[in-house]
Subunit: 369 residues, 4 copies
């Protein structure tokens, strides 16, 4: 599947020129004029199927946490640096802080009583909490509690800061579309106040009070919204939805994604679509012993183990994984998950980009393409 | 506002002909050929603003309930008659069982241990429960409990029957788009089994287990659905959402529709739009003492008082209303609600038809048209 | 197909009550309270397939034209009557000026040098010209020439008047959604000046200069428009498109709707959808000798023969038709067209209403439902 | 505008750590674990407004043509190299054959009687012809003539080859989304036959016969299509549309984009949207002496002068341009065009990507942001 016939560049291939001094001179002319011929590049540019530069890779949560703690001692949080966040740098992407060509994934760390200053940017962001609590992220003035299992949104161009109101530090996963926005040149940024103005600690955000009721929306806000207005998707709901799917399966009814594999997508209740224009987010639960079908899709993803232990197979290589571990899945790389215990996984991807551009493709083992 | 200048048909109006034997003969020719001139009809056909044939009217729940109980003694439920349902017949619509030109509203009544036989039709339907419990409506094989305050869907072309598993009769409100479907000629109907096959009595339907989690959807069913997949919108959620809006208002934050007036719309989580292609459904809560702004809109609606007492003003006339009372609101008739006690109201309307055809208009007292 | 099993109302049918004095008294109670039971009405309200009140019918253009000419002598055009238009009144619809339950079709007639006064209304309108020329319809100030074969739009709420600049009278077909708007209560109307202000006679409207270029749109107006901005679809383009389809068929390539049957739909270039929110318009061309597959669909239509001669079969009855004849096709009535000569037909229907509400159904002879 | 306050990284800035051996060791830990901190990168990753790596640049058509002719002598066209195409390599993008981070622009050259072999790929492509004729591009079996001024589509995954049926070589502009597809990892490619099977030379493609009629679409193909079905947008139509806009302006009516500046967008007649999911294409005409407002927008574009002479100002630098010259406009760089003679320009951009992701922004001199 991955060997493209057009990568053959034998000297005597019909579509390739014979080396000669004139050819050499022509190529020098191209260089002078800032030109590149297609015939020498087509194998790389137009492979028979995606051959991403990004590599499959696993980062260990415990190592990330240690380094974050160390940063907590050495690196201040404040204006200029803005956030104590440490990003995954995919080994195939030349050292750039990109988990994949489109996605940013970082561990962010806040000491007790610390504030992260207020700013906004066109990059879309979310937080996912693998453990801990005590921080409130204040999104456009609305304080949103962060607790284990919660998925929290900061849509593009919303002012936001964080404050830790507890006596313990807290770490969480930040996901953003920074690489995509950087490559395509659509980044805007604006500073807000140096510290968060509202240090209150409500259990529920105002956004949840308005929007987090199943199938109900305020009549005062009838239209579609570009990003989901639900600031926080609470673990209690996510957990219940996953449990319900597995119960339905046990009762003999449809609902699970495949045998032993429940999955819910965080969605925008004003459209039914993804929570953010550029990113999809989902929670998966595998029964102990389940092995998923091998699946690959156009676009890249990052997975984080939320609970349990198992293995992730990406192409030819398999990694054991446990709580907090992070996995980069490049475009079109076949993925298989195996659950040693019951296994809960958070996943985010750039699928909305491809779906909106009609470039999405999925291939599942045992199904027709 | 309601006097159209074009309704003046003085003999010497510039656009009207002078009576004559030749004119009379021309009109006879029209009749013979099945023709009607515009110039005699335009005032009625093209008024300056909607002048619906339907009238504003209030039906008393207690009277409906008495007649439904009497029907429970005299009228069987079974194949042929299909349902023990008694429909509101708007006084302006010539005796047809239409609450408005587009909407059907009926009280349905089921005796203890009775079954309503299974059928399906292209008309969309819902149930709203103003009091009682004990009936399960089985929608495409999924038993859905009916309890006070619940809003329950039977989208078009889903097979459905009901069964009463309790020792008490139960009555509820049925809403359908029967008049619209009848007028436009899009009715299809198919019989199912004479009795419901599944008499189980689960507290939650399978549809709720899959879909009634806030902002979460099963990954196994990713696309938009024409009608909402949430079979039951439970009162506990609706009540909480309304309470939250009023609390937000008390805290000084936006969310209510207008001062003292909370409102939620039942929505399709796969689109963010209305629950059914032809019908909108909402729940409203007014603080005691609240008087809404006067509002009129294109399209018709039916309101039912769920709890409390107050008054409904429609155009020049006002009715006191209490629990269960039903109100028909024709197109463009100005509506004002007043709450004597805290007042909860269910509302359904044909607004989606007009919005999809870009014919919706709303006028609110004190706002620009 | 048309006999519904639920229309059987035998006294001993399981779902029907046994007559008795008590039942009689119950029914009197229903009447007093403005109620109607479902069990006596369901056969009519919920048939197994649409049983429209409207009848299939053919009106003869020559008879219409004679009566229109006579009206030209006796009936002025001016403020109050507004238009010298004579509408088809479907024999099944109780004398109302409705070609079908949703569609208005009328012959409009303007004498030399006459003006029809300016007004606007929420009803959408178009004109189709079966013969003649010399009138300009001025839509929101833009004069649009009317010539044989042209299809011309007056979307809802655009001011419009007409003026005949020639020395001969002119008649044409008006199509509107008056019945639908009247039934649903969404009619608004406003008077403009008593006569058209701009009596210029450009060959092309400004709308055409901006919009009637294939696949090209002005960058200055980028968004979607509710109705098509193309004021006039000229016969030369329609004719060429139909000829091209038949040529493609002759060359062995796809394009025609079925063998010997070319068809184009007038479309909104800003959406690709129908020209008006409530009405679809198409032009059909049948090779001499062609007989179409029998087809029925939800929703009603009106056809007008533009050129040639043939036959229209509707259910059990067939009519010969020729230039100008008008045919009402009620919902779900099977239609077959036969072309004696090459046969050009204009068609309009209410299909967009059903498609937007997901209630459209089509059944074609020899295809699966 | 372009200086971001967050790029200040003074040692004592509140959000930046003080250098120390421990910090150095922390940074080494990041490197070992494939991590990068945000606080050192945020200035580059999150600028206050886009600071694209790509540079504004102009390529001269005459130089391109000379090198293409030389390639015509030295480089065969055939399987493996696939196309004799020479791509613009933006000086800011490290030598990659990318005109901008998302767009590919190349001159393609075909000798008399040559064939370019058949293949298909998920990258979307178009051709624009600045001069010459004689080549047919065969798209999914449909031969499409290429002539000066024509804009021709090869949507993603359509098989296509070219053949030159004339006695003269021909050169044209190829536009594709190769960089975007490469970066995001969505490239698929498939070989077809080594030579084009159909060497016929029809004046119009079958796609045009079906689709290139203004506002008319075949009833046989009713749905929306991802890419425009119009294979060729002919110069005669584009020229007429531009001339009409300038005439409307001269007559005092709206239509032009700004004074003296007509512009049409090539559109998908089945949606009204852009011709391809990832690329927008337009034709602009400036009256002699016109200077456009300065405009910048999110996303990048390439312009080609079709006729006339003038100047292009990009940020601080201005280039004189004439027929065929190509201009790369990076994201958010201010652009001003000046017409010395009447000036026709072709433009393509990646705007659909940003619009579909709700990331589009435009700023026009003298207008509010």
């Amino acid at each position: 599947m991955t060997t493209s016939p057009v990568t053959v560049r034998a000297v005597d291939a019909p579509g390739h020129p014979t080396p000669s001094p004139e050819l050499e001179q022509l190529y020098r002319g191209f260089e002078r004029e800032l030109l590149v011929p297609l015939w020498t590049e087509i194998g790389d540019l137009m492979p028979t199927s995606p051959r991403p530069a990004a590599a499959a890779h696993v980062w260990r949560w415990q190592r990330l946490l240690e380094l974050a703690r160390e940063s907590g001692k050495l690196v201040p949080v404040g204006r200029g640096g803005e956030r104590r966040a440490i990003a995954l740098a995919n080994p195939g992407l030349g050292g750039a802080p990109y988990a994949t060509p489109t996605l940013w994934a970082a561990i962010q760390y806040l000491n007790p009583r610390e504030d992260a200053p207020v700013h906004r940017h066109t990059q879309h962001a979310f937080r996912f909490v693998v453990e801990g609590e005590g921080v409130w992220t204040v999104v456009d003035g609305d304080p949103v509690a962060m607790r284990r299992g919660d998925f929290l949104l900061t849509p593009g161009w919303c002012f936001h800061g964080h404050h830790n109101q507890s006596d313990t530090p807290m770490a969480w996963l930040d996901g953003l579309d920074i690489p995509f926005v950087h490559t395509t040149g659509s980044a805007f940024f604006e500073l807000g106040p140096d510290s968060v103005s509202d240090h209150s600690t409500p259990a529920r955000s105002r956004a949840e009070r308005l929007w987090a009721h199943p199938g109900l929306r305020p009549v005062s806000q009838p239209g579609p919204a570009v990003s989901s207005p639900i600031a926080a998707y609470r673990w209690e709901h996510t957990d219940a939805a996953l449990a319900d799917q597995l119960e339905l399966e046990a009762d003999g009814f449809p609902g699970v994604l495949e045998p032993g594999h429940a999955a819910v997508r965080f969605s925008n209740p004003t459209t039914g679509g993804d929570v953010l224009p550029t990113m999809r987010a989902e929670m998966h639960r595998l029964r102990a012993g389940t092995r998923t079908a091998t699946r690959r899709e156009v676009g890249s993803a990052v997975w984080q183990v939320f609970d349990g232990a198992g293995a992730v197979r990406l192409g030819e290589r398999e990694w054991p994984v446990e709580r907090g571990d992070l996995v980069a899945v490049p475009s079109w790389v076949p993925l298989t998950l195996t659950a040693r215990t019951e296994l809960d996984l958070f996943r985010f991807s750039d699928a909305p980009i491809f779906e909106r551009l009609h470039a999405d493709r999925v291939q599942i083992e045992g199904e027709q393409a």
